[in-house]
Symmetry: C2
Subunit: 396 residues, 2 copies
């Protein structure tokens, strides 16, 4: 049988190849500290579950294709509080931020088009761009420069006649890099000047550790035709399993195209929309506490990493990830070894090998750490990484 | 800004143009009988809501990308009971049957490819096929022949070197046509002989009024490389708002491609999966009662339609739709007139104009009726249609 040439260029998750090793290690009684996945351990606010339990309609009906008004109103209220006025037509509820990304790609990309994305980047961007017929052109960044990309010359030098959009994750996954307001302004200016879309994936907006107020590209007040925002309740409210996100833009033509897609897939899960609306009633103290918790985890992880000889990492300002360069040639081989051959008091550690976050070739000696474990476990996990590195390099 | 040439070829829902007229009619105090939408009024089984209320994990986490084992097991059990043995790898849980269709299109279609679909067809197929770069080539059917399409010569005459797949909705939306086992066998044989995928959208499987046992293309026992099944809990358990469907195939290569997409969009809503698993514990009596109810509604609708001079319709065997030809030139104009200018004792009626179910040009004098109202309301709705037709044609 013949398959789509587009999907053939996509990849299965690069993380899954370690799954059998992890299963075998667990089966052998090893405890694994998971720094490899972005699933927060923070409790989902009770408001979500209360709303679910209070649902009492006899029939679980389709929601309207653009989204349930109760959730759209809640999201518009949230944006209003950070100074962004959204009309109902500026917003489409999606099945997670993932579907918002997929719809955006499907609305603006044609075969042969290119999308600029600072590298390293979230690997799933590749599938959304590829299945729309386009390709990612990476904006290269470097560990030594703290993965800095917001340089006008650097960005503009990557633009070609095929470029349709710039995608930025801010705060960044996997790097934790957070843009300043002037950097955001510069990037949107570049998009406007070159007639490109700027797709701002801001799902980690609340996770900034610099005491700056919540920042969104939407606050800049210009470039409305160019800007597409991706948002989600997954990380904000530790509700990844709700699969509720949204696509936001003040570009009316884009939103009409996106609505075609939303109508074709009918609607987003009704109960999850109702429950997610309730999440927006969570008090500000919730975020303060969560942010403090992650700030402490980040500090522990960075502090412990910096004790390990040969490890290069910069303290990230946001999200709950960081990239680190290890004194190894091949982080994938090291990961396999950690699962198969290493242990310290019956324990070992998992991270995400860095190559997966690069478009091709680079990043083989890097890893992404998701600092989603509590402080004690984080410290122990990084200790295991250090012990493993020492032993791995001694035996090479 | 430049938009995808693919999405520009898609359409907004053709039904939405009547929405403002309906709102105005309601505002003017008219009661509207809705035969235009496929939202059943059947109560969602209590098992769904009980499972939702019993969820007690503190964090609403991502489900695994292929689906939650509890739901996959429930679906495999259901198929086992109709004689279809499915391995876990034959099944991917999706966000409604809609996402299963979208993933199937994305995995097998390239630019310039064609998909054969008996016409009239479910309009959203167009968006899934178009955004994958391909186009629908309709297999024409006719009201006078009861929208019959399962003729080998008819189907084979539509196959070109660009054909990649045949899509059939069985039982059919919008026609209610139900295939016999020999017809199903013939269609799958054609797919195998011509190296095509057969995408069988079987979401209305339970809704057959001929006392035949539940039928699936999967029961045929051949063509495993060619067959892709689309399924969903939406209609089966009147749980449209759960957005839980699945993609089923024994073609390992296809499922690997589909898994790439499933991993990129991370997962399907966790709670809805858990609750949908519980739906599969519903007793067989539930389906018997629902089927009887729809059979009675169908009988009333067909009986009343046949009393109206100039209306042509065939009694459908399945789903809860039928197509009817009206003695008007333009069903859209008639619908607008029914909402704006007609009433009988303060009441009027809505249907779906037929043109939307055709690839281009045909069906303008046809309508699709969703017989989702109880018997009394169904009879009154068709009475209103007849009164409207008489008056509309008198004033022309």
């Amino acid at each position: 049988m013949k398959y789509s040439s587009k999907v053939l260029q996509c990849n299965l998750s690069p993380m899954r190849k370690f799954y059998p090793y992890a299963v075998a290690a667990s089966a052998a009684g090893k405890k694994i500290y998971h720094l490899n996945i972005g699933q927060p351990d923070v409790k989902t606010p009770q408001q979500f579950f209360d709303a679910v339990r209070n649902f009492s309609a006899p029939v679980l009906e389709y929601a309207p294709s653009p989204g349930l008004p109760v959730l759209m109103d809640a999201i518009r209220g949230y944006y209003g509080r950070i100074g962004v006025e959204l009309a109902e037509k500026n917003l489409l509820i999606t099945t997670g931020g993932s579907e918002a990304l997929q719809i955006a790609a499907c609305c603006i990309l044609d075969d042969g088009d290119e999308v600029l994305i600072p590298e390293p980047f979230y690997p799933n961007y590749n599938t959304f761009v590829r299945t729309a017929g386009a390709a990612i052109r990476p904006i290269p960044t470097f560990a030594e420069e703290g993965y800095f990309y917001a340089d006008r010359e650097k960005v503009e030098s990557c633009i070609t006649p095929n470029t349709r959009a710039i995608v930025v994750t801010n705060p960044g996954n996997p790097t934790g890099v957070v843009l300043t307001k002037p950097q955001m302004r510069m990037l949107l200016e570049v998009a406007v000047e070159h007639d490109l879309f700027l797709i701002a994936d801001e799902v980690y907006r609340e996770f900034v550790y610099t005491d700056e107020p919540l920042a969104s590209f939407m606050q800049l007040g210009f470039g409305e035709e160019n800007l597409i925002l991706i948002d989600s309740v997954s990380k904000r409210f530790s509700s990844c399993g709700a699969r509720i996100g949204c696509l936001i833009s003040k570009n009316g033509e884009l939103m009409q195209q996106a609505l075609k897609y939303c109508q074709a897939r009918l609607s987003v899960a009704t109960l999850d929309q109702i429950a997610s609306a309730a999440l927006y009633q969570v008090e500000p103290e919730y975020f303060t506490a969560v942010r403090e918790e992650y700030r402490r985890r980040r500090d522990v992880v960075v502090q412990e990493l910096q004790k390990i000889p040969g490890v290069l990492c910069t303290k990230p300002d946001g999200a709950f990830y960081l990239m680190a360069r290890l004194p190894v040639e091949d982080a994938e081989d090291f990961q396999r070894w950690l699962l198969e051959e290493f242990e310290d008091q019956g324990e070992t550690v998992m991270f995400a090998a860095g190559g997966a976050f690069y478009a091709g070739g680079r990043g083989k000696d890097e890893i992404r750490i998701a600092y989603v474990l509590n402080e004690r476990d984080s410290a122990r996990a990084i200790e295991l990484l250090g012990l493993g590195l020492k032993k791995y390099n001694e035996t090479r």
